[in-house]
């Protein structure tokens, strides 16, 4: 495409096939303690 460069085709939609195992950390556990950002947690589904 001439006018658009797609950086990412859509991780959210793709992740629907995952089982939603919830083995990943909870956002307040890492460093924030006041301002939860769920999107910066790594997926821990093996």
């Amino acid at each position: 495409m001439k006018h658009v460069k797609t950086i990412n085709v859509g991780t959210l939609k793709a992740s629907v096939v995952k089982p939603g195992c919830k083995e990943c950390a909870n956002s307040c556990q890492s460093a924030c303690k006041t301002s939860a950002t769920v999107a910066n947690l790594p997926c821990e589904h093996n």
Partner: protein
């Protein structure tokens, strides 16, 4: 809202909210998107005729049509039913263990009232700590990973009990087939060689509190005699980080307030000290506190986040990268949609436990009696209250449903929502604005990386 578009660092960035797709577009597409949903092709050509030729606009619209057809733009939210119909059981698998409701510092912005949480000063006993371990193992169902944050007050004021609790946790995790990961959050004043070695060996993550530059830190992070802590803690934090097993996590974490709105300088200062994992967070205090973040501070704060993002890009070019916690968004991975739509987990996946063994939805609810979920000695929690938290997800937060950032922040901090609006379903507006700016900056960094503009 189906798309979000913004300009940052010379790039036109478009996020497709529901799929998570990210595009960089030229000015013609960027302008066409203002009208694409509500105007016809001919109307858009007419509206933009003073800026672009017919051919250019037609070509841009064709590319937008293609993205729509390929479900990378203007996609629908297909996740709502998954949440509404989710009857799967919840398991508690994360815990903030308030080892000490006491502190040897008197930081001016402390939400925990110098560690006491507006109650009496107390230290957790090993008995309560062990009961808390039993509680979380019992309530974690078939979750394998359990996270426990040793928190306070200052948890190292109770170091001997920490050792006892961890020793117990290690024996119990084996028996029950669990993987318990510990984090400690400390003000670093009590770190010595023995404690540093112990933390390195036993903690998956260590959060070390320092606010940045000496003049900023020492205005706020003070002892009871009023003296600043900077000169004492910086060498200790450096020693901890130098010794840290490189496969394990650490964060050097500070707080910015209304009085250091130029917190870019604090982040840069910490990066210059050689720290690679940095988190500087906005203070959360009631509106009338002179240190609290005001709405009128937002433009300056946004500018600071942009400067931090640009600093990361620049330092990466020089091979001297550092990470800023809130910019750690993995646009090609990150948590699955199930996690993103379930919120922070407070009250039903994550709880806080006081030295007396009382259970609250998270560390920020501690001391608010109406939110007490139970006690570790009872071994169970108030299911009704827990379910209120489980159901406080984005689909039950009208403001979130209008917001493009809902799958990144997942509804924000329930405690902040309650503190500012008296309702966990009503987002804390200033927090939302800062969150959105951080996400924009985080994505812009990823765009630079993906386009290899280094």
């Amino acid at each position: 809202m189906k798309i979000h578009k913004y300009k940052l660092f010379g790039k036109n960035i478009v996020i497709d909210v529901n799929s998570g797709a990210i595009h960089v577009v030229d000015d013609i597409v960027y302008d066409c998107l203002d009208y694409y949903e509500n105007k016809s092709k001919d109307e858009i050509i007419e509206i933009l005729s003073n800026k672009y030729s017919n051919e250019e606009v037609v070509e841009a619209l064709e590319e937008i049509d293609y993205l729509v057809k390929e479900k990378m733009l203007y996609t629908e939210d297909i996740y709502k039913d998954m949440v509404i119909n989710d009857n799967s059981p919840s398991f508690i698998k994360a815990m903030c263990l308030n080892i000490a409701h006491d502190c040897n510092l008197k930081c001016k912005y402390c939400f925990a009232s110098e560690g006491s949480y507006e109650g009496k000063r107390s230290l957790m006993s090993a008995e309560v700590g062990k009961k808390a371990i039993d509680f979380i193992i019992k309530n974690s169902g078939y979750r394998h990973n359990i996270e426990i944050d040793l928190f306070g007050g200052e948890p190292l004021m109770n170091f001997e009990v920490i050792k006892e609790i961890i020793e117990y946790a290690k024996s119990e995790e084996k028996k029950h087939g669990k993987n318990i990961r510990f984090t400690i959050t400390t003000n670093a004043t009590l770190l010595n060689d023995e404690i540093i070695d112990y933390i390195d060996k036993n903690m998956g993550n260590v959060v070390l509190s320092i606010d940045g530059r000496k003049e900023v830190n020492d205005k706020i992070r003070i002892r009871y005699d009023g003296s600043g802590t900077f000169d004492s803690i910086l060498p200790k934090i450096k020693k901890m980080v130098d010794k840290r097993d490189k496969n394990k996590q650490y964060y050097v974490r500070g707080t910015f307030t209304h009085e250091n709105l130029d917190f870019y300088n604090d982040v840069a200062f910490l990066a210059d000290q050689g720290f690679k994992e940095i988190s500087i967070e906005p203070v959360v205090l009631e509106e009338d506190n002179p240190l609290s973040i005001k709405k009128e501070d937002l433009p300056v704060i946004f500018e600071q986040y942009e400067k931090i993002a640009m600093e990361i890009i620049e330092r990466k070019k020089q091979g001297n990268e550092f990470k800023f916690y809130h910019f750690n968004i993995d646009i090609n991975g990150g948590p699955c949609i199930y996690k993103r739509i379930s919120g922070c987990g407070a009250g039903y996946e994550y709880v806080a436990v006081t030295p007396e063994g009382d259970i609250y939805p998270c560390h920020q609810f501690v001391g608010k009696e109406e939110f007490k979920l139970g006690n570790v000695f009872e071994g169970k929690i108030d299911e009704k209250l827990s379910n209120q938290f489980k159901n406080a997800h984005i689909y039950n937060k009208p403001k979130c449903m209008e917001c493009w950032a809902r799958f990144y922040c997942s509804g924000g901090c329930q405690a902040n929502n309650y503190s500012f609006n008296g309702d966990i379903h009503k987002p804390y507006e200033i927090g939302c604005e800062m969150m959105k700016k951080r996400i924009e900056c985080a994505i812009a960094i990823k765009v630079f990386e993906a386009m290899q503009d280094f």
